[in-house]
C-alpha cells in the first residue's frame, strides 16, 4: 500500500472519531447570559444587560436568574421584560416584514453575488440556483447563508476534483515545473529566482521562463512588472528571438503610455534583431496607423499578410488596414 493510501485511510478513521466527537458534544449554554445579551440596558448607551456594569443592569441580570429559576423559559423571560418596558427593550430585531428582510438580505446578496461571479467564467458554467427560503428565524439565516456559500464551495471543490482535459499534471516538485502554463505566478517567479546563478540552467532557458511570466503580467495589464521582467531578459544574453519579443512588447507598453517616438524606436529595434517577429511588426503598424502614417505602414502590412505565423483571423483586419493605409 502506498503512503498516499495510508493517508486517506488515516483521514477516514480520524474523521469518524471527529464525527463521534461532534455527535456527543453538548454545548453548555448559560440561559441567563443568553437572555441578558438579548435585552438592552435601559439607561445605557446601546449596551446589553450582559455588557453593562450599571446597577440597574445588575439588578435586571439577577431578575433574569430569578425568573429562569422559577421555571420561565428564555422566551417567556424575554416576554416578561417586554411586557414592562415595551418591545424596545429587546435587542433582537422583531420578525415583522422589515425583520425578515433584514435576516434574509445577506442571503439575497450572496445569491446575487454567485450569479455575477458565474458570469465571469469564460466558458458558460453550469447553472446554480439558490433554494428559496422555507423557514423563518435565525436558524433560517444560518442555514441559508451556509447553503448558498456551501454551494459555491462545493462547486469550486467539484470542479477541481475533475481533472483537466489538457495539460500535464504538476508533479509536486515546484522547482522543476513541466508545464509553465499551469504554474502560479509566485511559483514561477520563485522558480526563476532559485535558478539564477545555477550553472545547469542556461540564461536563455531562464529568459524563456521570464518571458512566460512577463506575458502574464502583460496580458493582465500590469505593465510595470512586465517591463521589469523584459528589462531583465534584455540584460541576460537573450537569443535574438527573445530580445525581439521583449523589445516588441516594451515598445507596445511605451506606446500605450503615450511615448510614441520611443515606442517606434523599440519596435524598429525588435524587427532589426529578429525579422520574423510578426507581433512587433503588427504593433508597429498600429503605431504608424494611429499617427496617420499609412504610407510607411503599407510595406509592413504586406509583409504581415505574407507571414504564415500571423493568425488567420487577423487577416480581414490586416486587409482593411491595408486599404486604409493606401488611401
Amino acid at each position: 500500500m502506498t503512503a498516499r493510501r495510508w493517508q486517506w485511510l488515516a483521514l477516514a478513521g480520524l474523521a469518524l472519531v471527529l464525527v463521534w466527537g461532534l455527535v456527543v458534544a453538548d454545548a453548555p449554554a448559560d440561559p441567563a447570559l443568553a437572555v441578558a445579551e438579548a435585552i438592552s440596558c435601559p439607561v445605557c448607551d446601546g449596551e446589553s444587560v450582559a455588557a453593562s456594569q450599571s446597577e440597574i443592569a445588575e439588578s435586571m441580570y439577577a431578575q433574569i436568574g430569578t425568573l429562569l429559576d422559577a421555571g420561565y423559559t428564555e422566551r417567556e423571560t424575554l416576554e416578561w421584560f417586554e411586557a414592562r418596558y415595551g418591545p424596545e427593550i429587546l435587542l433582537e430585531p422583531p420578525l415583522d416584514v422589515g425583520g425578515i428582510l433584514l435576516w434574509t438580505l445577506p442571503l439575497l446578496i450572496a445569491a446575487g453575488g454567485v450569479i455575477v461571479i458565474l458570469r465571469l467564467r469564460r466558458p458558460v458554467a453550469a447553472e446554480v440556483t439558490a433554494e428559496p427560503p422555507t423557514r423563518s428565524g435565525r436558524s433560517l439565516l444560518g442555514i441559508g447563508i451556509s447553503a448558498v456559500v456551501l454551494v459555491g464551495v462545493a462547486f469550486a471543490l467539484g470542479s477541481f476534483l475533475e481533472p483537466r482535459a489538457d495539460g500535464s499534471p504538476i508533479t509536486g516538485q515546484f522547482d522543476a515545473p513541466t508545464d509553465l502554463e499551469s504554474v502560479s505566478d509566485e511559483t514561477l517567479a520563485l522558480t526563476i529566482a532559485s535558478f539564477e546563478g545555477d550553472p545547469d540552467v542556461s540564461p536563455q532557458q531562464l529568459n524563456g521562463m521570464r518571458l512566460a511570466l512577463a506575458e502574464r503580467y502583460f496580458e493582465a495589464g500590469d505593465y510595470r512588472s512586465a517591463t521589469e521582467e523584459f528589462t531583465t531578459v534584455l540584460e541576460s544574453e537573450p537569443t535574438p528571438a527573445q530580445a525581439s519579443e521583449a523589445l516588441g512588447r516594451v515598445g507596445w507598453i511605451l506606446y500605450v503610455n503615450g511615448e510614441s517616438a520611443a515606442a517606434e524606436e523599440a519596435l524598429g529595434q525588435a524587427l532589426d534583431t529578429f525579422d520574423g517577429n510578426g507581433e512587433a511588426r503588427y504593433f508597429l503598424v498600429l503605431v504608424l496607423m494611429e499617427q496617420d502614417r499609412g504610407s510607411e505602414a503599407v510595406p509592413l502590412l504586406e509583409a504581415l499578410l505574407d507571414d504564415p505565423s500571423v493568425p488567420a483571423d487577423l487577416q480581414p483586419d490586416l486587409l482593411a488596414m491595408l486599404e486604409a493605409a493606401k488611401a
Binding site: 498516499r4 493517508q7 486517506w8 488515516a10 483521514l11 480520524l14 466527537g21 461532534l22 456527543v24 458534544a25 453538548d26 454545548a27 453548555p28 445579551e37 438579548a38 448607551d45 446601546g46 449596551e47 446589553s48 450582559a50 445588575e58 439577577a62 418591545p87 435587542l91 430585531p93 422589515g98 433584514l102 445577506p106 453575488g113 467564467r121 469564460r122 439565516l141 451556509s146 456559500v149 464551495v153 462547486f155 469550486a156 471543490l157 477541481f160 475533475e162 481533472p163 483537466r164 499534471p169 504538476i170 509536486g172 522547482d175 502554463e181 499551469s182 504554474v183 511559483t187 517567479a189 520563485l190 526563476i192 503580467y217 493582465a220 495589464g221 500590469d222 512588472s225 521589469e228 521582467e229
Partner: protein, 660 residues
Amino acid sequence: MIAVLGTVAVLVALAGAIWLAVAGLSAVSGRTVPSLRTPAGLLFGGSVAGMGLLEVGLLTDDFSIAYIANHSSTSTPLLFKFASAWGALEGSILLWGLVLGLLAWLLQRRVGEGDRLGTVALGVIGVVSVFFFGMMASVANPFEVCTSAGTVGCLESSAWPFAGSAAPGEGRGPNPLLQNHILMAIHPPMLYLGYVGLTAPFAFAISALLLAQPGAAWAARTRRWTLAAWAFLTVGILLGGWWSYEVLGWGGYWGWDPVENASFLPWLTATAFLHSVVVQLRRGVLQSWNFVLVIATFALTIFGTFLTRSGSITSVHSFTQSAVGPLLLGFFVLVVVAGLGLFASRAHLMAERPRVESFASREGAILLNNLLMTVWTATVLVGTVYPILVEALTGSTIGIGAGFFEATSGPIALVLLLAIGVGQVTPWKASNRDVMIERLLVPALIAVAAGALAAILGLRDRAALVVLVLAVFAATPPIVLLVRQAAARPESLGSGMRLLVMNDRGYWGGMLSHLGVAVLALGIAGSAGMAIHADDITLPIDEPVPVAGHVIEYQSGFTDTDDQRRVVGANIEVTRSSATVGTARPALQDYGTQVIATPGVLTGPVRDVFIVLRSIDSAQVVVDVSVFPLQWMVWVGGFLVAAGGAWSFTARRSRREVAA
C-alpha cells in the same frame, strides 16, 4: 498666543489643501502641472504646526483655549495630557488632518512632472483635506479661545483668536474612561493611520476614473499604501478590543457596538480589495469591482466617522452631538454620489470580457473570498443602520444586539476559514485534482486529527470543535507547502525556508495573515464560545472560595489616591488544582463623577482568569469571575494578521532584489 498661531496653522493647511485640490485637479484637462511640492508642504507643515501647538498648549495647561480647558486639567498625567489632543472631537479631526497632510507629503515625493495619474490623485487628496481643514476652520475649531470661564472648564468660546480670553483656573480633564490605560493613547492614531491611509487608493482610483485610464496602474501604484493602511487599521481595531478587555470590565473585547462595526466595515472591504486587486494585477479581471471596493471602503470610513461623531447612534464611543454630524453626512453623500457616479459614467470603458478559465483556481478562491466579504459587510452594515431606518419610518426605537451579528457572522466566518485553507495553495488560472490532493491531504489529516484528539481529550463544545478543525486546516497548508518547497532546494531546510519567505514576501506575508486569522478564530471560539461566568461571588477575607474551576481568596485590600481619583482594590489570590495562578488586583477607580471597575486579569497559556470588583470592605468583597479560555490567541492572532500585512508591504523591494 497659541490660539493665534494655531488658527494661522489651520488656515495655512487649508490654503495648501485648496491649492493642492485646484492645481492637482487641473491636470484632468491635460494641463501640465508643475510640482505640487509647495501646496503639499503647506498642508503638511500647517497640520504639523497645528498639532504641535495643541500639544504645547496641553502640556503647559493653557486653559485660555477652550478645547484644553474642557478636555485636560493640571492634574492629568503627562501621557494623557498628550493623548488628550485626540481624545475629543476637535482634536481628533486635527489628528485626521495631520495624517492626511503626511499622506499628501509622502505621495507628492513620488509624483513627478507629467505624471497625470499621480497629480490628479494629489488633487483628490487636496479635496478631502479641504473638507477636514474646512471643518477645523469652522464648526470644529480646536483653537477656539475661552471667552467665559467657569470655576472649572470653559463655558463659552469664540473662534476669533483675539476675542477677550478668560482662562479658567482648572480644566475639566479628559473622560475618566480615556485616561485609564496607555492603549487609549495609541488606539485612535493607529485607527486614523488606517482610515486616512485608505484615502491613497481612493484618490488614485478617482484619478484613474477622471483621466479615463481604467487600467491597473492605479491599483499597482497604491498596493503598498493599501497594505500599510490595512495593517494599521487591523492594529487599531485590535488595540480597541484589548483596551475594552483590560479597562471596561464587562469581560469582552468586541460587542458589535455601532462604532466597532463602523471600524470593522472598511476593514472588511479593504481586506476584500487586497485580495481582488491581486486578481486584477495577475489576471486582468475584476477591474470594475476594484473601483467599487475602493470607493466603498473610503465611503465607509467617512460613514464610520459620521456614526461616531454625529450623536445619531448611541454608543460608548460617541462624542457629543455637534455640527460636525451633518457635514460628515454631507461629505459621505458627496463621496458616494461623485465616486460611484464617476465610476458609472466610466463603466463602458471597463466592459471586460469574462476571462476566468476555471473557478478551481486561485482567482476562483479569491472570488469566493470577495463574495463572503461583501455579504459580511452588507450584513453588518444593514444590522447597524436598521434601527435608524425603523425609527425614521415607524418612530419606534429598536436595538439590534450581538445576537444578530453573531448568528450571521458565525457561518460566514466558518466558510471563510475553509476557503482560506483551500484557496491559499490553489494555483492561478487552473488547478487539477492531483495538485490539490498533494497540497491539502496532509493539512486535512492534521486538522481532522487535531479535532479527533480534542474530542477524545474531552472537548465537548460543538462550535469549538468545528472552529478547531477549520482553523488548523486553514493554518497548515502554507506550512506544509513551505516545508516541501524548502526540502526540494539544495540548501538546508531552515535556510531554504528562510530564502523562500524572504524572496516572495507578497505571498508569504499573506500566508502569515491567514495563519493569524486561524489563531484569532481559535481565540474567539475559546474566549467567547467557552467562557465561564460566575457573578456576585462573596469572598470573606482570608477564606478560599471555589469558583469556576479555580479557588480564589480575598487576601487584602489596597488603596491609592492621587489628584484625579481614589482607587480601592483587592488582592485576590487565584489557585487551580492547588497550583498558584497568581494574584489578581481588580479595583474600583472613583473619579468623583464616575466609578470605573477595572478588572484584574491573570493571563495564562490555557485561559485567562478575569475578576471584576463589585463592592469591597475590609471584611469581604463581592466579585464577578470569568474564565476565558485561549484569550491570548485573540491578541496574538490579530497581531499576526497585521504583521502579515507588514511583511507583504516589503515585497516590492524584494522583487527588485530578485531581478538584480
